[in-house]
Amino acid sequence: MNTQLKELNAITRRDFLKASGLSAGGLIIGVSLPMGVLGAADSADFEPSAFIHIAKNGDTTLFCGRCEMGQGISTALPAAVADELEADWTRVTVLQGDADKKYGPQDTGGSQSINKMLEPMRKAGAAGREMLVAAAAKAWSLPVADCYAKSHVVYNRKDGRKLPFGDLVELAGELPVPGEPVLKTRDQFRYIGQPLQRHDQDEMVVGKRIFGADKKVPGVKYAAIKHIPVLGGSVKPLDKSKAMAIAGVVDVVVIPRFENPYGTVGGVAVVADNTWTAQKALDALGVEFEAGENGSFNTTEYKQQLLRNVEAPAKVEFEKGSLDQAFKDAAKRHSATFETGFLSHSPIEPMAGLVWVQDDSCEIWASTQDPQGIQRTIGAYLERKPEDITVHVMAAGGAFGRKFKCDYIVEAAACSKAVGAPVQLTWSREEDTRTGYYHPCSAHRVEASLDADGNLTGWLHRAAFPTISSTFNPASVQPSADDLNAVSKHLYGVENMRVESGMARAHTRIGWLRSVYHIFYGFVINVFTDELAHEAGVDMAQFLRKMYDNNKDPEQQEQIKRSRGVLDKVVEMSGYGKNMPAGHGIGLAVHHSFASYAAMAAHVEVKGNDIKVHRVDCAIDCGLVLNPDIATAQMEGAVTMGLGFVLHPGISFANGAVVNSNYHDYPIPSVGEAPTKINVGFVGQQYRSTGIGEPGVPTTAPAVVNAIFAATGKRLRSMPIKLA
């Protein structure tokens, strides 16, 4: 980091809590978002937004409507606004916006914040700059062309006079908001592309960052909950007296299932003076449950069933060319069966939030990825209008897709309503592990044909997994054509292809976890590709290049070029193909997801059943990188999380309920498992910016598994891996 930037970062370290209230009379610049970024249902209600507030003293507040859960979005987007605004970053305070449609869509997932919101946010900044410049021009009676903004000041080109932003606030506020402000060109960027320090770092290291679990209000009560462990089960009749006898217990609240997809599976909560008393009283209750219709669900049999369902022909969802002919003409055919397991998000901050339901209001402080979703869900639960539900978006202590759903907020609302007080509900780790929206297990049967020159000529892919759609629609009992897109639209240019969907009825709630179905598609496709390369007698990089060259689909040329870009970069970074010592190997994986491109090379050492991942090189093309330090951190995180997915046991079910309970039997990676080095290289910066939160995850597991093959000659086809 250069010295200037280091100083800037040092000055910018400011405490969120120091941010004073917005002074009256400041300039709030409202800028409409283009309709394209809004969901159809929201567009009619949309009003001009308010991302920027400049006070008369020049202090500038930028609002972030997207939820912060560690990915750094509340720095990256406001920094882009500040850049366009020509605001001095040291004068900027960032505030998290409450749930409000004026911020546009706030559902923070799918690596969409930058993809969807960068341009509207830049426009908001540019519009602000143009208004301030126009205000100065008016004050000086000069043409606008004779004025320009730089670092919180507007200058007069003619005579060098200047006016600070604060002095222009009143005048600028009277001007119309320009509809099509002129955005900066790349050479004019001040903050975009720079490793600015995150605005929220300093409060974290002193324990002052307030997460959803940390929020207090006067008179707050605390709740603990036990959920119905089997989906569709029920609570057996309950004797509340054992809990009520404990000093400090306020009430026992039985919460029925609320069959909204974001609702609750139901359970029993205890509200008390503190969390510990609530937990203790909950244990004393000895709650018992009826299992219901999913009571015989267990992962061992279920996975076997899915494997059977992909062995026989299944429902054809995509077909091109003639696969039968390709297979008949093949010089070589190769097939394999893969299976992957259920996974849980398991953020260190469990599901938690504070809700205060009153007769005429409902106020919520939540770790969340979807504040407007909370408004809708709690609105439905309390039979009130969504806009009557106030949601303060708190820092999320990790989320990874889980805090998109707000079942825990529904439960806190049920408790608050029952006791007539604000209630902070914190799930125990056990409840967090056992009451998820799980990443689904899956089974895949893949078969491919090669011609005499080692070209890929045919690909059959049969997949079965319980779908996310099943959580919204019980009639969804197998993957849809869309769910299979990662295969049918992949970039290998195979002319003969058939993609089939196998039955997989869900018996638990299925949800999206960081990179979603790409977790298993990235794994299966990359491991199978490494196998095919081996069959063709070349290494995987050579095999991939050949397939990219063979793909003449005009619609895929940019995607191929960018995939090739990350592949070439990661080969260069890692030295893939070089000789490695015995027991060591480098494995490769390339995957395109969420509009970005990732390639990884993992250097793995295998000793007996002990696997050590020494180093991972990552090349990522997410277009122009807004903040290389934050983007690098996201890749480091993606690698670490991916290692857990492939090396640690997954979630398993018995008698309909999750067997795992806490970090001892659902372990997540620890510091000792983290590679010594994770190198991150960016390519494709000439393209428009896209997301970085998820695209790094899918390549980790296959790179490791392919490295294990390189090290040992052993083919592994399950995730998590089974070495023995």
């Binding site: 370290r13 859960m69 560690g70 750094g72 320090q197 995150r198 929220d200 770092q201 300093d202 974290m204 290291v205 002193v206 324990g207 002052k208 960052r209 307030i210 997460f211 679990a213 940390d214 207090k216 605390y222 503190n274 969390t275 510990w276 008393t277 998000h345 398991s346 953020p347 260190i348 901050e349 469990p350 820092a395 202590g397 990790g398 989320a399 990874f400 914190t426 125990s428 780790r429 330090d629 934050i630 951190a633 480091e636 995180g637 993606a638 690698v639 670490t640 999380m641 806490n662 970090y663 001892h664 997540i668 990676p669 620890s670 510091v671 000792g672 983290a674 590679p675 080095k677 994770i678």
Partner: protein, 156 residues
Amino acid sequence: MSYSITINGQAHQTDVDGDMPLLWFLRDTLELTGTKYGCGMGLCGACTVHLDGDAVQSCLVSVGEANGKKVTTIEGLSKDGSHPLQIAWLDNNVSQCGYCQPGQIMVAADLLKQNPEPSAEDIDTAMEGNLCRCGTYLRVRKAIADAAEQMKGGAK
């Protein structure tokens, strides 16, 4: 029964149940929320505080056991966020979500007190019990090494 615990230099008298884990006394009773709940079983390290100078997981220590002792939480590690580890954490932009970081820092502070020049292996061993789901481990290692270097220079 009444308990007396000194927390961040301030004496506290309390008559809460002596079995209450120190974690919940800090978080719910005193509203010192820098100490985090993550697992309740001593598996994640997010609740680490110093008890008479040693790092302990406050979910495993009861108020009764802390009676008469001195507790330091992340809020009391330094007056103004100037502990070399806190500075090193900022210089390395360690935090992603930040939730586990108070616990990481409290364990690291104990490590550097006992072992001012830890090897890479020493750091991994000391930090093994502190989980981070965001995956900030490479930066945690680097920040501890940087702070150790800084403290070596400063402690003459």
